[in-house]
Symmetry: C2
Subunit: 378 residues, 2 copies
């Protein structure tokens, strides 16, 4: 574990020096519009970044990947991670944040479940949690050691950014990690995990507690390594019923936010994003997050009312719009900005990751429209 967390857990709760360390990390940012919006401070325009902005739609990314190995090897190679994390910023001057190049499933991999990627089929685990014995063997890994490659990448990207924009660290949410850990892969009907949740809530909560504790440490170490903001991707929270979402996903994200605050990272903004969770925004607003991510099914104006204009909202253009024409993109971007309306507290983003088939010039159209059109709202 990183030095700060170790000190906390060793009982040396010197919160003054911790806070000053955390603050120090935040002082060097040149373009801080993204951070300001998360603090609900005034900015001259609406800041923007894109989920999967370092990815396959960029020809320079595809070129870099040709010379490298598997996706997981790439995540573990800090030079590659740094190179590709900066590619979208070098191409697009109007991006206001960088994000760590990594995968949401590094945590269960560090727990020994054997993550690998099958071409065209997505992530798979060699040792999914398929029986009680495996579940009770599950334990919090030595995060500092087993996920060192991630913190090395954070440091390296942070250095390379040299304060241009803030760096976002991230993890999968405890529930979302658990879906892969139990189902063994993506693209399933989630019947394994749901059966466990309904029949054996004791086992389900055991896994989620371990995930929440591990993710807390994981994000603490990312912050210590230089992440200015952290985000929890709750990609599969939306498959839960309205009764179960709060208990099995939201509450464990709350645990992580509380843990990070206890560790002295109150000032580090935290964003949560439950895909398909637009009906539960009022609940999401109550767990201490600074930002809530939204997909394109949700009306930003309605969401703004639901959070009483107190929490920053991030989203929510349908990424498939970027497959169309400049005029359509311009109109759609303006609609999103109009939906949010006048005032601070909106970070522009897509409602999900950018697709690999997106023409690079369409991203420019989006970014230029945001920069120009949003000024009237600030």
């Amino acid at each position: 574990m990183c030095s700060i967390c170790r000190r906390i857990l060793d009982g040396l709760n010197d919160s003054t020096s911790i806070k000053s360390t955390a603050l120090k990390l935040m002082t060097k940012i040149i373009n801080d519009s993204f951070l300001k919006t998360l603090r609900r401070e005034a900015t001259p325009y609406t800041p923007v970044w894109m989920m999967r902005q370092a990815g396959r739609y960029l020809p320079e990314y595809r070129a870099s990947r040709k010379t490298a190995g598997s996706f997981l090897e790439l995540c573990k190679n800090k030079n590659f991670a740094t190179e590709v994390a900066l590619q979208p910023l070098d191409r697009y001057p109007y991006l206001d944040a960088a994000i760590l190049f990594s995968d949401i499933l590094t945590v269960p991999d560090a727990m020994g479940l054997g993550l690998h990627f099958v071409e065209g089929e997505g992530p798979k685990f060699k040792y999914p949690l398929q029986d009680e014995e495996a579940i009770f063997k599950l334990d919090i890994p030595d995060v500092e050691e087993s996920l060192k490659y991630v913190f090395d990448a954070v440091k390296s990207i942070k250095d390379a950014l040299n304060g241009r924009v803030p760096l976002i660290g991230f993890s999968g949410s405890p529930w979302t990690l658990a879906t892969y850990m139990i189902e063994g892969q993506g693209g399933t009907d989630f019947m394994r995990i749901k059966k466990m949740m309904y029949s054996r809530p004791d086992l389900m909560n055991h896994i989620l507690k371990i995930n929440a504790e591990t993710v807390s440490r994981y994000l603490a170490c990312q912050i210590e390594a230089g992440a200015d903001v952290v985000m929890l991707f709750d990609t599969w929270g939306g498959i839960l019923s309205h009764h179960e979402y709060e208990h099995y996903s939201l509450n464990y994200m709350k645990v992580i936010i509380s843990n990070l605050n206890i560790l002295g990272f109150e000032k580090i903004p935290k964003i949560i994003f439950t895909k398909g969770g637009g009906q539960w925004i009022a609940k999401q607003a109550k767990i201490g997050a600074d930002g809530i991510g939204l997909d394109w099914q949700t009306n930003l104006n309605k969401a703004r009312n639901e959070v009483n204009d107190q929490i920053t909202l991030q989203g929510n253009l349908d990424p498939s719009i970027l497959l169309s024409e400049p005029k359509v993109i311009e109109a759609a971007v303006k609609k999103v900005l109009d939906d949010y309306g006048v005032g601070e507290g909106h970070i522009f983003n897509l409602g999900h990751g950018i697709t690999q088939f997106t023409p690079v010039e369409n991203v420019s159209v989006m970014l230029e429209t945001i920069r120009k059109y949003s000024k009237q709202f600030h």
Copy 2:
């Protein structure tokens, strides 16, 4: 086309005799609690049916299938369709409706797109709409002729039911049919259809208009053949943005409801169900439907408020609960009934089709709990 529709379209708008025909079809039902609830009349308990209630979780269905051919051949065989449509009613005395045994994709098949089912991969089309030429060739088929096997199945099931419970006819919604027609199969990321929708709304609307007109005729013929209620399955409306849902899915369902009313079927209850559409219930309430289906992500109480307690709600147990234990099922069923609360206007259902791995005895637990526990609310 069926005789009633033909008369309408021939300008012989004898609405009195049409209404009496439609009403005559509705007079013979013995257990009419499902129909009463759709009319918001008092019933002694909450009625229930299950999406895919005639399906693979039933050993008698699996046995029947062994002796028959492919899924599509089965749909086209009225004796088989009748046999399996009645199986769940014979097993479970507490089911309050039967549903036509068919597939949502019969309509594009009748349009000549060549529907077939690949084992383990779901439905595929041999001739998906991949270019402008194919789209402009698309036309309203001779529904009465090309989908005769469906109307024969409706008549046969209706006869076999002999008034025990009402029979539900159905179709895919225009938007949902279009997703398969353009993507060519299920399980995609919907990039083809979204690209068309955003780049070529003219082509998209052309397809949807043809679909809406065809589905109107299709459902009219199902009603004429004996369907007491019709339902539109909008399985993929939930992938649309809140801006596009109304235009590209909801409005075309509205066209169908209006067409059916013009044809004299005002008294035939109409249910719409947009999976993943829980954020748009207030909009759904305005298109003239008598019932709105809900998935498990939506709180029934909140939904009831959103429709001002004026429209019947159908749902919304997570079908995966049926994989667990009787006690869990009992508690979850009670929660759904508690969510809706006192009063008429609730039809119990699952939030999606029952899964093939459901133990048959768990369905009994659900049905018995509904019947006993719901009496206090009526």
